[in-house]
Assembly symmetry: C2
Homo-oligomer: 248 residues x 2
């Protein structure tokens, strides 16, 4: 039962919190007002499945708030998360009408949706949208490839450190804080979801988080609140080329 939650009074594209990062980022005022008329908001509760893999999908959308995940499942139940969708991320593929992955709301989520057909037409007429979508897709491809290195070659400890570092970076870029000395982040995922993302079991995730805490790389307030006393140390533990992309 697709219970919808309040989508609030969001209407003006000009005031949209994801205005400058979403697929519409490059649009001019007139283009924006066209989108304004096409769009509709939809809310999903934490835990709710937004789309099932294989289902017909007649819309595309941007995540406005909240966090969603993309996961693949094998017949015997093994699961691998293949994407983490944060505000401004795009869902759905123009030119395909069934979903390739399960999309699940991890927190309450609000999405800015467009019916697929009109959106595709608009895209053809509006290079700004296609351009931005290409750029976003290339970024996602890079992220996926970085994740391939993590999944294929990193140890459990490095995987956990990498995940925390990535969440911290995204968090910082969203709130425009520098990732410097002492900083705190909230893990948006359960241990099991982290395991699905990292290609581990939830027990291993738990153990490695405990180990990083024991070794003073992180400290914990409760189970979700992480403080990072020394970000460089964390990045080192992640095994990354430590420049690690202060992206534009």
């Amino acid at each position: 039962m697709a219970l919808q939650i309040a989508t609030g009074a969001l209407v003006e594209c000009g005031d949209c919190p994801i205005r400058h990062r979403a697929v519409c980022a490059r649009c001019e005022t007139d283009e924006l007002s066209t989108l304004e008329h096409m769009k509709y908001y939809r809310g999903y509760e934490a835990g709710q499945t937004i789309v099932w893999s294989g289902d017909r999908m007649d819309f595309v959308a941007s995540v406005v708030s909240g966090i969603a995940t993309l996961t693949q499942t094998m017949e015997d139940g093994r699961r691998q998360m293949v994407g983490l969708l944060l505000p401004s991320d795009f869902v759905g593929r123009p030119g395909r009408n069934t979903a390739a992955y399960d999309v699940t709301a991890t927190t309450d989520v609000v999405m800015c949706c467009f019916r697929k057909k009109p959106f595709e037409d608009m895209m053809r007429k509006t290079p700004h949208i296609a351009e931005r979508l290409l750029e976003m897709t290339l970024d996602e491809l890079d992220a996926a490839r970085e994740w391939m290195l993590l999944l294929g070659r990193k140890t459990a400890r490095e995987k956990i450190a990498s995940l925390i570092a990535i969440i911290a970076r995204r968090d910082a870029s969203l709130h425009l804080r520098p990732v410097g000395g002492n900083l705190a982040v909230t893990l948006p995922l359960t241990r099991e979801e982290m395991a699905d993302y990292l290609g581990l079991t939830l027990e291993t995730v738990s153990r490695q988080i405990s180990a990083l805490k024991r070794d003073g790389v992180i400290s914990l307030e409760g189970k979700r609140q992480v403080t990072i006393p020394d970000f460089d140390r964390l990045v080192e533990e992640a095994g990354d080329d430590n420049d690690g992309g202060m992206l534009a």
Copy 2:
């Protein structure tokens, strides 16, 4: 020393073997003739590095013939292949000027190159190119995500079976043969390269190939020539949802 190999008499875009799959696939005759004047061929010998990660890259290109790989390397030498480039695949990212990965020729390779700046200008003027590039990038993203499932959740045996199945599929789609009963493929990679692709060691790759052979899933002529008596059996061993994408 960037020794170039003969690039042959390829000149006419109309006769190009990758005409219908490459980034230029959707171009009209006039657009094609513009590209015709911009393009230049370049050859690389097997084993040669085409670009180093981090290097300035002032061109983009399509693979015309041969096979190249994209790999990431950690400081301590651990390597993960993040892409396998076959004829018609695109190399380089418009809007970025340094390479994100090492690109290496696995066999002798011929590439159809464009200097980046003119190509970007052309892209802005020619929606057909941007459109096709978006489509290709979305396909690559899907492939990367499929690979994430493999890297994160599959066993060594499943990984090997998956790799062989994928190579067989691509091979068939390139030569327009159906992937039916009995078919043969040549592995385009050494055991070590397979290991880098699959997130394994070369010893494990060797052992699992032997095991698949012992169990009659495949048979070998030499080290590279693989015959697949029953493709469905192979797909089953790969742990895939056996429909497995007879892509358009």
